[in-house]
């Protein structure tokens, strides 16, 4: 009876995992999806402990409860306390824990399985190896993200070296299974090789590519869990693991695509950070890019957005799509106004001519003096093809040709997004510090095209 019930609970948990992931892919339901998957997981864990058939010594129960309680407290607190910006590292850390768990299971089970079910040895080893790689790889990724390990470390010919190790490791595992080499020496040696391989796999990859690597390691851990499922003929581990394995792999590819970096070159090419063409002046650091779809979500959940149009809007003839953006945002309850700098564009009133053409309400156009105090209450400022009129050098740099010109003080807003095609300078021919500030992200591309994408993403958000 118990053992029967447990299957139903496992089935239920698997379904919550599927539903949870599905809901996680949509901003509206993501949070609920996470909770649903967590619920299924809790049930599955509880069921596993409670519905155990054979009698188990209470010591073991205490140990299990102790481990779970400890893990819960530590995990909960860490997750709750971490700063927003440090979350990716934490994900990597937790992923490593999962990998370590799988590796440990392999280490413990190997002797037993070798003794009783030699046909399952391959499965045990596979789970152990993958878990170990995921563990050590995740630790390296974590160290890179939190800054302990700053640079990509590359041994000479590291690609070839890594491939050789990989092949050797697999061959060794096959040998163990085939030759019945069940001595624990072999097991621990294999384990060590896997750990080393995990380190060597991640260490040459640049920091900018870490999210992709974590996602990949994440699907590895999923695979390791699935092997656990095979081992114990346990459906929830199997399905949960496979689910994460396949979804994680797809996600990795999707992320690569979003970053415009083929997975292959992330792993093997490893040319490090993405570089952005910079012109009209020395680079003053690196800029952060934002994708149209991220921006769409960000705007969707804002309460106030200010659009700063500039000459680029006119060049792109993007006046109609900017109006569409305005309409869509307003429909979603976002307040939108336009901040018009007196010399935006190339003729007095250039922006007025454009925006009147697309029927933007005159009341939505705000003069510089009126709008400057409003930025502080603004969630997102979207600068479209403007440059000089938002250049802080006008206030700070007496040597600048625009020094003394009043500017739109977009920096007091919560976040600034700048759309332009490149890092090229504007009319005054000078570099703009704003683009390198922490609050600023760049949305590169022709204004008409990029805003079209933004509008599309917004529409798809319902």
């Amino acid at each position: 009876m118990n053992i029967d019930l447990i299957h139903i609970i496992y089935l239920f948990a698997s379904v919550t995992f599927i539903l949870g992931l599905k809901m996680l892919s949509n901003p509206k339901t993501a949070r609920k999806g996470n909770l649903i998957a967590a619920l299924g997981m809790t049930l599955a864990i509880v069921a596993t402990i409670v519905l155990k058939e054979k009698e188990v010594s209470p010591v073991i129960y205490y140990l299990i409860f102790g481990a779970i309680a400890l893990g819960t407290v530590v995990g909960w607190l860490t997750a709750k306390k971490v700063q927003m910006t440090k979350m990716p590292e934490l994900v990597s850390l937790f992923n490593g824990m999962g990998g370590a768990c799988a590796a440990l299971i392999g280490l413990i089970e190997f002797p037993k399985v070798a003794a009783h079910h030699p046909e399952k040895l391959g499965i045990v080893l596979a789970g152990m190896i993958i878990g170990s790689i995921s563990f050590s790889g995740s630790m390296i990724a974590w160290a890179k993200l939190n800054g302990t390990l700053r640079n990509a470390i590359r041994l000479p010919k590291y690609n070839i070296l890594n491939t050789i190790i990989l092949i050797g490791m697999v061959a060794y595992a096959v040998f163990i299974v085939a030759a019945g080499a069940y001595a624990s020496m072999h097991l621990y040696l294999l384990f060590t090789i896997a750990i080393v391989y995990g380190v060597l796999f991640v260490i040459p990859i640049g920091g900018a590519d870490m999210p992709v690597v974590i996602s990949l390691l994440n699907s590895f851990t999923g695979l390791a869990a699935a092997f656990g499922g095979f081992l114990y003929d346990n459906q929830v581990m199997l399905t949960g693991g496979i689910l994460v394995g396949s979804a994680g792999t797809l996600l990795t590819l999707v992320m690569c695509k979003a970053m415009n970096r083929p997975l292959f070159s992330v792993i093997f090419g490893a040319f490090g950070e993405t570089a952005v063409a910079s012109g009209g002046g020395e680079s003053q650091g690196s800029v952060r890019e934002v994708s149209a779809s991220d921006l769409a979500v960000q705007m969707n959940y804002s309460s106030k957005v200010i659009i700063v149009p500039g000459y680029g809007l006119a060049v792109a003839q993007a006046q109609h799509v900017v109006k569409e953006l305005e309409t869509l945002l307003e429909e979603r309850g976002v307040e939108v106004v336009y901040a018009i700098h007196p010399v935006a564009g190339r003729m007095p009133g250039h922006m007025n001519v454009l925006l009147a053409e697309s029927n933007v309400d005159y009341d939505k156009l705000k003069e510089m003096e009126d709008v400057n105090p409003e930025f502080a209450q603004t969630d997102v400022v979207l600068v479209i093809g403007a440059n000089d009129v938002v250049n802080p050098a006008a206030k700070t740099d007496p040597s600048s040709p625009i020094f003394g010109m009043p500017i739109l003080e977009v920096e007091s807003a919560k976040s600034v997004v700048v759309n332009k095609r490149s890092m090229n300078a504007g009319y005054a021919g000078i570099q703009n510090e704003l683009f390198f500030r922490d609050k600023t992200s760049m949305l590169f591309g022709d204004a008409k095209k990029v805003l079209g994408e933004l509008v599309n993403e917004l529409k798809n958000l319902d």
Binding site: P342, V343, G349, V353, A356
Partner: protein
């Protein structure tokens, strides 16, 4: 058949009834076309363009008319031209026949038949022959240009380094053909446009051009053949109330309100003008029919209390090239309707023929 095109005689009239482009169509209908010399000059159609198109040139009106079967002009004939008419000839022009009893008598006595172009019925299939409509349309455009020219301000909003220029506020009375085109033109130039009319369907039409409509709380007025009827004094009072606020803020006011067969209604009183801003401008398009304001005078600029009241009685004459083109097309389409197989075909069952044939001496046919 011979067709004579006369040069206009009215002061300030620059149009011509037939433009060179229509000649080939008219020849196709079976006409030989004689054009009075310099008839198209003011509208930028030179005599040699007519001859190139296949017309011949007559040096005087008398010469052109003698021997013609059909004589065409934009405006009603002068006494002198009536004198040149011969029995059996056909006259075609605007005649404003309801206001021109005497002229009609003269034409009847001359033994001619006469078509009045402005009497075209407002039915769908007559739209392409309706000169009032085609000319009103151009007038609506031109009224805005004239207003923009008189105004000390510009229309669009401009936010510049030297400060923000606020957009001009334009208020339009009468949302007929002219009013609609005025709305469209003023909107294009960037003004904030409001309009009002007695006919309730004008609200949607106004909004379809992106402007605001001022609704006068009343039952509205039913139309008759496309024209508005006269309204009650009560309505006019309510209208005053509804528009006064807009009037006080307006930079440019354009009035186009006409009532078929009656004097134009006075929509803006002297007191209302005194509400208006220093420097504002009124363009009165109804001035030829008595005017929509208390002070407007035909073809004069009246200054009152800082407000310019500009009465223009003949807007189409200010854009003679286009207005002549459309007129000419209206007329050639109309002739196409009247003529079959190279002969006039007086179908007295047909609303278009009966509506426009205001003097019928064609005893032979009918």
């Amino acid at each position: 058949m011979k067709l004579a095109v006369l040069k206009e005689t009215d002061a300030g009239e620059t149009r011509v009834a037939i433009v060179p482009k229509s000649i080939s169509k008219l020849k196709g209908l079976g006409f030989e076309v004689i054009v009075q010399s310099d008839a198209g000059k003011n509208a930028a159609f030179a005599d040699d363009e007519y001859t190139k198109a296949g017309a011949s040139i007559a040096s005087s009106a008398a010469e052109a008319m003698s021997g013609a079967d059909l004589i065409i002009k934009v405006n009603p004939p002068t006494k002198e031209e009536v004198g040149h008419l011969k029995k059996g000839q056909i006259w075609m022009s605007q005649l404003f026949h309801r206001l021109n009893e005497e002229l009609l008598g003269d034409l009847k006595n001359a033994g001619v038949s006469a078509f009045s172009l402005d009497a075209m019925p407002r039915i769908s299939r007559a739209q392409s022959m309706d000169v009032l409509s085609s000319q009103s349309n151009l007038s609506g455009y031109k009224s805005v240009i004239t207003g923009a020219d008189h105004l000390g301000k510009i229309f669009p909003m401009l936010m510049t380094a030297a400060g923000t220029v606020t957009p001009a506020k334009v208020l339009i009375f009468g949302v007929g053909v002219a009013g609609l085109q005025a709305i469209a033109t003023a909107k294009r130039l960037g003004a904030i446009v409001q309009a009002t009319d007695v006919r309730p369907e004008c609200k949607e039409q106004t909004e379809s051009l992106g402007a605001k409509f001022i609704t006068v709380e009343d039952d509205g007025v039913k139309t008759e053949g496309g024209y508005a009827k006269e309204v009650t004094a009560e309505y006019l009072a309510k209208q005053k109330e509804a528009v006064n606020k807009s009037l006080a803020q307006a930079d440019l006011v354009i009035t186009t309100a006409l009532v078929q067969g009656a004097k134009a209604p006075i929509l803006i009183s002297k007191e209302q003008i005194e509400l208006m801003k220093n420097g504002s401008v009124i363009i009165d398009m109804a001035v030829a029919k008595g005017g929509n304001t208390a002070l407007s005078k035909p073809d004069e600029v009246v200054h009152h209390n800082g407000v310019k009241i500009v009465g223009v009685s003949n807007f189409p004459a200010q854009i003679p090239t286009n207005s002549s083109e459309l007129l000419s097309r209206n007329i050639d389409t109309f002739l196409g309707h009247l003529i079959s197989d190279g002969k006039f075909n007086w179908d007295m069952e047909d609303e278009i023929t009966t509506g426009t044939l205001v003097v019928n001496n064609q005893t032979a046919t009918a």
